[in-house]
C-alpha cells in the first residue's frame, strides 16, 4: 500500500506541476504565436509574482488571521502589479524587438531573466520564501492529500477552459488567433496590432503571475526556480505546438507527470527524459503534437 501511496502522491504532484507548466506555457505559447517572441523571462515573472504574493500575504497575516481567504487579495495584488510591469516592459523593451532577428530577441528576454533575477535577490535576499497556510489533509483515494492540490488542478482547468473559450468564442479571441496566422491581414483590417500585442503580452504575464500566486503555498520560491521551469516550458510548448491551447494543456500534463515519476526512478535524469521527448518531437514533428505547421 505504501507504494500505491507514493504513486498517487506523485500523480497529484505531477498533475499540479503540470498545471503550473500549463499556466506558464499557455502564456508563452500565445506570446510566441501572436508576436513571434520567445519570452525567456516568462518564468521569472512567475517567480517574481510568487515573491510579491508571499510579501503581501505576510503583511496581511500580521493584521488578519492567516488562511486561504487571505490568499485572494495577495494573489490579486501580485497579479495586478505584474500585469502593470508586463505592460511597461512590453511598451519599453519588447516593442522594439518585433522587427529584429530571432537571436537578438532571445538575448533580450534572456537579459531580462538575469536582471529580474538579481532584482529579486536585491529585494528579497537569497532565502527561500514560502507561505504557510494551515490546512488539514483530506483523505482521497485512500491517501492523505493536501486539498489545495484539488484547488490548483481545478484552477488550471478553469483557466484552460476560459482561455479556450476566449480564443474561440469571443470576437477579441478570434482576432488574436487570426494574428497568429496572418499579422499583416489583421493590420490591414484596421485592427491595431500594437494594442493586440500589448494585450496578449499582459495577459500572458497575468496568467503567469496568477500561477505564481496560487502556487506559493505549495512551492517554495527560490532563486533559480525560474530557470528550471522555463526550460520545461520550452519543452511543453515544443511538444504541444506553438499557439495551441489544447496542445499546451496535454503537453503540460505529460511533462509534469513524466517529470514527477522520473524522480522516483532516475532522480537526476528527470530533465533528461523530457529533453529526449523534445528531441523526438522536434525530429519527427517539429510543429508539435497539436500545432499546425508554422508560418516561417
Amino acid at each position: 500500500m505504501a507504494d500505491l501511496n507514493a504513486l498517487l502522491i506523485q500523480l497529484f504532484a505531477g498533475l499540479s506541476r503540470g498545471m503550473v507548466l500549463f499556466l506558464l506555457s499557455a502564456g508563452l505559447s500565445l506570446i510566441f504565436g501572436v508576436m513571434n517572441i520567445l519570452n525567456f523571462a516568462h518564468a521569472t515573472f512567475w517567480l517574481l509574482a510568487g515573491y510579491i504574493t508571499v510579501t503581501i500575504y505576510a503583511y496581511l497575516a500580521d493584521t488578519f488571521a492567516p488562511g486561504f481567504l487571505l490568499l485572494v487579495p495577495a494573489v490579486l495584488g501580485a497579479t495586478a502589479i505584474m500585469v502593470a510591469l508586463g505592460l511597461l516592459i512590453e511598451r519599453v523593451l519588447i516593442r522594439r524587438m518585433y522587427d529584429r532577428e530571432l537571436p537578438e530577441q532571445l538575448l533580450l528576454t534572456f537579459a531580462l531573466v538575469l536582471i529580474l533575477g538579481d532584482v529579486i535577490k536585491l529585494i528579497w535576499g537569497v532565502q527561500n520564501r514560502r507561505i504557510f497556510v494551515p490546512v488539514t489533509p483530506m483523505q482521497a483515494f485512500g491517501v492523505f492529500i493536501n486539498p489545495y492540490y484539488f484547488f490548483l488542478i481545478g484552477a488550471g482547468f478553469a483557466v484552460a477552459i476560459g482561455l479556450w473559450l476566449f480564443l474561440h468564442r469571443t470576437k477579441y479571441g478570434r482576432i488574436v488567433r487570426a494574428a497568429v496566422y496572418n499579422r499583416e491581414m489583421v493590420n490591414a483590417l484596421g485592427i491595431r496590432i500594437p494594442m493586440i500585442y500589448a494585450g496578449v503580452f499582459a495577459a500572458g504575464v497575468g496568467i503567469a503571475a496568477f500561477a505564481g500566486g496560487i502556487f506559493s503555498p505549495l512551492l517554495p520560491m527560490a532563486l533559480g526556480n525560474d530557470i528550471d521551469i522555463i526550460v520545461q516550458c520550452f519543452a511543453v510548448v515544443v511538444i504541444g505546438g506553438f499557439g495551441s491551447i489544447l496542445g499546451t494543456f496535454v503537453a503540460s500534463l505529460l511533462v509534469g507527470i513524466v517529470y514527477s515519476f522520473s524522480i522516483l526512478i532516475w532522480p537526476d535524469g528527470a530533465l533528461a527524459m523530457i529533453f529526449l521527448i523534445v528531441i523526438a518531437v522536434l525530429i519527427w514533428r517539429p510543429w508539435g503534437l497539436f500545432g499546425t505547421e508554422l508560418r516561417s
Binding site: 537571436p103 538575448l107 537579459a111 531580462l112 538575469l114 536582471i115 532584482v119 525530429i283
Partner: protein
Amino acid sequence: MGSVRHGTALLTKGTNVSIDSAPVIQKTTPRSVVARTFGKWGLSGAATAIVFVGFVLVPLVPGQFWIYVATEILILGLLAMSFNMLYGYMGQISFGHAAYFGLGAYGAGLLMRFFRPGGGEIGYLDFFLSLLAGPPVAAIGALVISVFVVRLTGIYFAILTLAFGELLYYIVFSWYSFTKGDDGVQGLLPPPFFQDAVNYYYFTLAVVLISALLMWRILESPFGYTLRTLRDNQRRAAFLGINVRLHMSVNFVIAGTFAGISGALWGPFQRSIAPGLLGWQESGVAVFMALIGGSKIFIGPMVGSAIYTFLHAFVTIYTVYWPLTIGLVIMAIVLFAPGGVLGLFQSWFDRMTKKNDATADRSAQTRQDENTL
C-alpha cells in the same frame, strides 16, 4: 568606388573584385592617413592585428593575474569564434555549443587522468597526446548530433541544440564510473614547463592563433561563402544547387571541433574539469561574447571575450550582482549596438574612409555594419 576596401576583403592580399581603382587625391589629414593605412585591410584586419599584438604584449604587464585573465580570454574567445561560425556566418543560433567545448575538455582531461590515475603532473608526450584527444571527441559528438539538428532552423534549431547540449551534460553528469560525474576531475597538472603561467599562456596563444588562421581560411573558402548564402537566403541557396543540410552539417562539425580545441586547452589551465562545462550557461557565455564583440566581424567574438572576461573579473571583485550587470550590458548591446562593439567601430570607420575618396560615396553607403561578413 574602387579604392575602398570593405570588411569583406579582410586581410586580403588580392581582392576578387575586378574594378579599377579610381585615382585618389592624396591628402595628409589624419583622416586620410587612417583611411590609407587601414583602408587596405578594412576594420576587421586592423582589429585582428591590434588584438594579436595586444595578446603578445600581455606578459609585459606585471602580475600573474592578467596572464590568467588573458589565457581565459583566449580560450573562451576561440570557443566564441567557433560559435560564430554557426551564428554570424551561417545565421543559426545554437544554445548547446558549449557541449563540444566540454567534450573536448573531457576528452583531454580523462586521458590525462588515465596516464596519471592519481592525478598530478604528467609527461610531455602524455600531455600532447591528451590535448590531441580532445578535438576528435568533440568532433564525433558534433557529427552525431548534426545528423538531427540540421533538419531544422531558427527557433527549432536553437531549442534542439539546447536539448542535445543538456542531454550530453546529463550523460557526463550521470556516468559516474567513467567521468566522475558531478565531482569532476581534479589534479590535471601539465608537465613542468607548462605549469608556468606565462609558458602556458604563450602555448595557448600559439594554438589559438593557428586555429584562428585555419578558421579564417575555411571561412574565406568557397565553403565559407556558401555558408553565408545559407545565412542570407537558405531557400535560394537550395535553388542554386547547394545541399543545405550537408553544408550545415559540415559546418556544425567544424565549429564543434574548434570548440573541442578550446576545451582541451581549458582542463590543464584550470587544473580541473566539471560537467558544467557542457551546460547551457557555458553555451550562453559563448553567445554573449559573440554578440558583445560583434558577430558580423571575424575577430568580433574574441574582442567580446576580452570585454566579457575583463568585466566579469572586475565586477565580481566588487559585487555579487554579476547577472544584473551582464544582463544590462546585453540589453544595451541588443537595443543600441546589435553589431557589437566592433560593429560600432565599423560605422565610425566607414564614415572615416568615405570622406577621403571622391568616388567612394556610393560604395561607402553600401557598407553598413550588417554587411561585413
